[in-house]
């Protein structure tokens, strides 16, 4: 559908005002909000995600695209809630204890929201209990851990252990990422998934929720 394609293009271009206008137009025309979400907003972010992974666009382009997508999402959110359109899943995201860096974690949050997931961002310097509490309260299926330093990534194991101790270990999966993190480290601490960059985090989440 032409309108949905246009929404996707404007999301990709970061044109938030045009996205808002097109989304409103779509609603007026009776297009299903789930189609506007998936065929327009998510499709636009998906395209940006692919370009980001391929180094064709960079963080600023992702940020303005995410802003545009969010602007459109805010318009359809009340309708999605009213129509009880279910989210694809909920992910708790945070930077681990002692680590104050957030740009990588934030980009992952935007990419996941852009892909249609609900994200609970608990911020930086987050101890294991905070992740577990957020997972309990939100009913999240996944906890995503970010770390930029070799000296803080060790706290990822604490989160995995806290999750197991809480009894949520069977229901909630753990995804890890960040500059010093590797697949072998993820395996070593018992994480369920590892994302080497923000764009592939969406793929990891899809796989974990399948």
């Amino acid at each position: 559908m032409e309108l949905l394609k246009e929404i996707a293009e404007k999301v990709e271009a970061g044109r938030q005002n045009e996205v808002k206008a097109l989304v409103e137009s779509g609603i007026e025309r009776g297009i299903a909000v789930s189609d506007i979400l998936n065929g327009g907003l998510v499709a636009g972010m998906n395209s940006i995600g692919i370009k980001f992974r391929e180094n064709e666009v960079f963080v600023p382009e992702v940020l303005v695209a995410a802003r545009a997508m969010k602007a459109g999402l805010e318009i359809i959110k009340p309708i999605l809630l009213r129509e009880k359109v279910r989210s694809k899943g909920t992910i708790v995201m945070g930077t681990v204890l002692g680590d104050l860096h957030d740009i990588g974690k934030n980009i992952v949050c935007y990419m996941l929201q852009g892909a249609g997931y609900d994200v609970v961002d608990i911020g930086i310097d987050a101890p294991g209990e905070k992740f577990v509490q957020a997972a309990k309260e939100s009913g999240a299926q996944i906890i995503g851990l970010s770390s930029l330093l070799t000296t803080t990534m060790v706290y990822m194991k604490d989160v995995v252990d806290a999750l197991r101790a809480s009894g949520l270990g069977d229901r909630v999966k753990v995804m890890v990422g960040g500059a010093p993190v590797t697949q072998s480290f993820a395996d070593e601490i018992g994480a369920h998934g590892y994302a080497s960059d923000a764009a592939s985090a969406v793929d990891v989440v899809k796989r974990l929720l399948a």
């Binding site: 180094n55 963080v59 600023p60 002692g98 104050l100 990588g104 310097d125 330093l149 000296t151 500059a179």
Partner: protein, 361 residues
Amino acid sequence: MNGKERILAALSIREPDRVPLYIHGINEAPIIGIGRQITDGLPDPKEFREMNDQEKGKLLDTLFLIHEHFGVDGFTSFEIGHEAEVDERHVADDWGVVYTRSPHGLPVATGHPVREPGDLATFTPPRPNRGHLVLLDLGRERFKGEKALFWLMRGAFVRSWRLMGMENLMVQMFDNPEFVHRVARMVTDYSLEQLDMLIDAGLDVLVVEDDIADRHSPLISPAKYREFIKPYNMELVEKAHLKGLKAVTHSDGNLWPLLDIILETGYDGLNPLEPQAGMELKKVKEYCGDRLCLIGNIDCVDLLPHGSPAEVDEAVRLAIADAADGGGYIVCDSNSLHPGVDPLNCIAMFEAAKKYGKRRA
């Protein structure tokens, strides 16, 4: 040759008597860990601010001693005294940027005073303070010209995002590019004025420390880097050269998409060449080793924390083999000697530089 001559030769892409050795950055814990191998009376590892005056004096003396004992050819200095404590966890610099402290490394900027164009109307930038150059002065007095004096100066990207917030800066590049240029101009004017002081204080090498990439890619596109960052950092390089200094740029991460622009800027050296980001020494050397001195690449993420001294020795041997022919390579770690590195591995790196670094015939 002494250390200064060695460093300057390497930065001029001439082969010195041996491959120089340099420490770009080192935290308290590794100073103490390495220092304990060569001196007594060091405190247990803690942050500098938690030390009493005697402990601070001992730490600084040990830092100098490490350079002397292990033959490190360049000494890094940076601003001290420009931060004021806000509370137990936070400090603010003289720009009004608030940093949150972390026991795992440098404080991280979390409070940004210039978020909107209107903020500039009421914002007064600081003037450089000569007293903040105390570490450079101490290094100059201690080493008396035997070692090259380096200064870490934040570049336009880092200074700008600390003032504006990183995500805000990036979005403003689209929404309000003039605002971004005004901030870059303001911070560069400060840096140029500080550079005058540094030149008078006897600096040899200006390091424009402007972290702008992660392992995957630069944070901003080459086009935005060329528009918003290059012209401003280039003013620093040009002034440094005009006054007879060398200029190096530091950024972690994958710099390949920016490398041509880095070369255009006129830097003499590139640090730290993060191996996990694809900055393979051999490939970078092949691409631009005749124009740019390569500084770093000895892995501080896995190797220096978790490897063995024998593995570190081999890594240095390979790095020298890949990059030192004809000059233009300085042995250094791939970011900093941070609290997680093994002191014995650091010493292995220092010793390997000597062992393998002698000039080839």
